[in-house]
Symmetry: C2
Subunit: 217 residues, 2 copies
């Protein structure tokens, strides 16, 4: 047992450890991908852990080796959603005029929500992903904070250019967020179907146009 021996052993150890870590991550990602696929196809409630296991040809128990419980899966997917929405939003920092950027932010947000309604529910409505935070991590909802930050930054830029005089930054930002969230969440929870006279397919974008008119006047 000389130094060289030990050195080689450690090298090998490191190599296999890395590979194992990579394989673990790959299987975890596989589970997440299957979960997302099934959520989108059949809805979140209708997707059972057994379905996810079947989808990737693993046993139920394996899912629980990689995730504490269903909430943990939901939380990870919720984080993936924020990664996508966040990057779509941050692209808009390329828009110089903050008022134009603000308008575009709303459009991006609305499109994301209507194109990914289950993801949106996970990110902004369901309690499950936040329950995971309560149980396992600290209270900070970093994903939401970062995304809201993009909006606040943009509103601040607007104020810097002389808009929204006599308005408080954060309450105003929260009101704007609420409007677009309300637009899409009423649509996603199907509260526009039986209640409106006009076609529900266009009400969200039409209403956003009215909101923008009011905001910009």
């Amino acid at each position: 047992m000389n130094n060289v021996h030990l050195y080689l052993l450690n090298e090998i150890d490191m190599g296999t450890a890395e590979r194992k870590a990579r394989e673990k991550k790959e299987l975890k990602d596989l589970i997440l991908a299957a979960a997302k696929k099934l959520f989108i196809a059949k809805g979140i409630e209708q997707t059972k852990i057994r379905n996810i296991a079947d989808e990737i040809n693993y046993s139920v128990g394996t899912v629980y080796v990689y995730f504490k419980d269903k909430n943990a899966i939901l939380h990870d997917l919720h984080s993936l959603g924020f990664k996508q929405l966040g990057s779509e939003m941050r692209v808009l920092f390329a828009v110089e005029d903050p008022m134009e950027r603000l308008k575009a932010l709303g459009r991006v947000y609305i499109n994301f929500a209507l194109n990914n309604p289950d993801m949106y529910d996970l990110m902004f409505t369901l309690k499950a992903p936040l329950q995971f935070l309560d149980e396992v991590k600290n209270d900070q909802w970093n994903e939401g904070k970062a995304t809201f930050g993009v909006l606040v930054q943009t509103v601040e830029d607007c104020i810097g250019r002389g808009h929204f005089k006599d308005h408080k930054l954060e309450p105003l930002s929260y009101a704007i967020w609420s409007t677009v969230h309300g637009l899409v969440s009423l649509q996603i929870s199907e509260r526009t179907k039986g209640a409106c006279i006009m076609q529900p397919e266009t009400i969200v974008t039409e209403a956003y146009e009215e909101f923008v008119k009011i905001l910009m006047r």
Copy 2:
């Protein structure tokens, strides 16, 4: 078997039938009251049919004699919620100035939601009460339609007094509904906790003030 006999029999029949109908309604209301109490105390998901049965000292089966399934209970409670919210809103028709009425409608709506968060979820977020509609009744969501109607009527009155020039009635009304819905639903789904710097307790009312400022300018 003479006519008088038949007449008396029918009289009695009618009386007992009425009493039975009343008793049936009373037990149904009892179940609903127990369900509401438990929902508020422990949350909707955490309230089991067995809990409701225990609460009123009846067996599980009895609940299913009076309600098709849990969705039916949720739908009836959702309707009760709309009765309350609707009457609170219609009181405001006493306010002559439609712009003042509009402001007050928002305050009433927000207060209702924050004081009855579980009811609000039932009325505007959860799918369950609407699933009952899909299964049993026609598609019309009459409760929502009537309540939205109060808002539309008020916005129409505002337009009649020269406000909101160049705005479409229903899209604008939907945008306003969306804002207050967004304000309260983000709060109820606890998306303000980890994301905002300021105290989440006051953010809803502060943001509503900002929205009103923008709307009325």
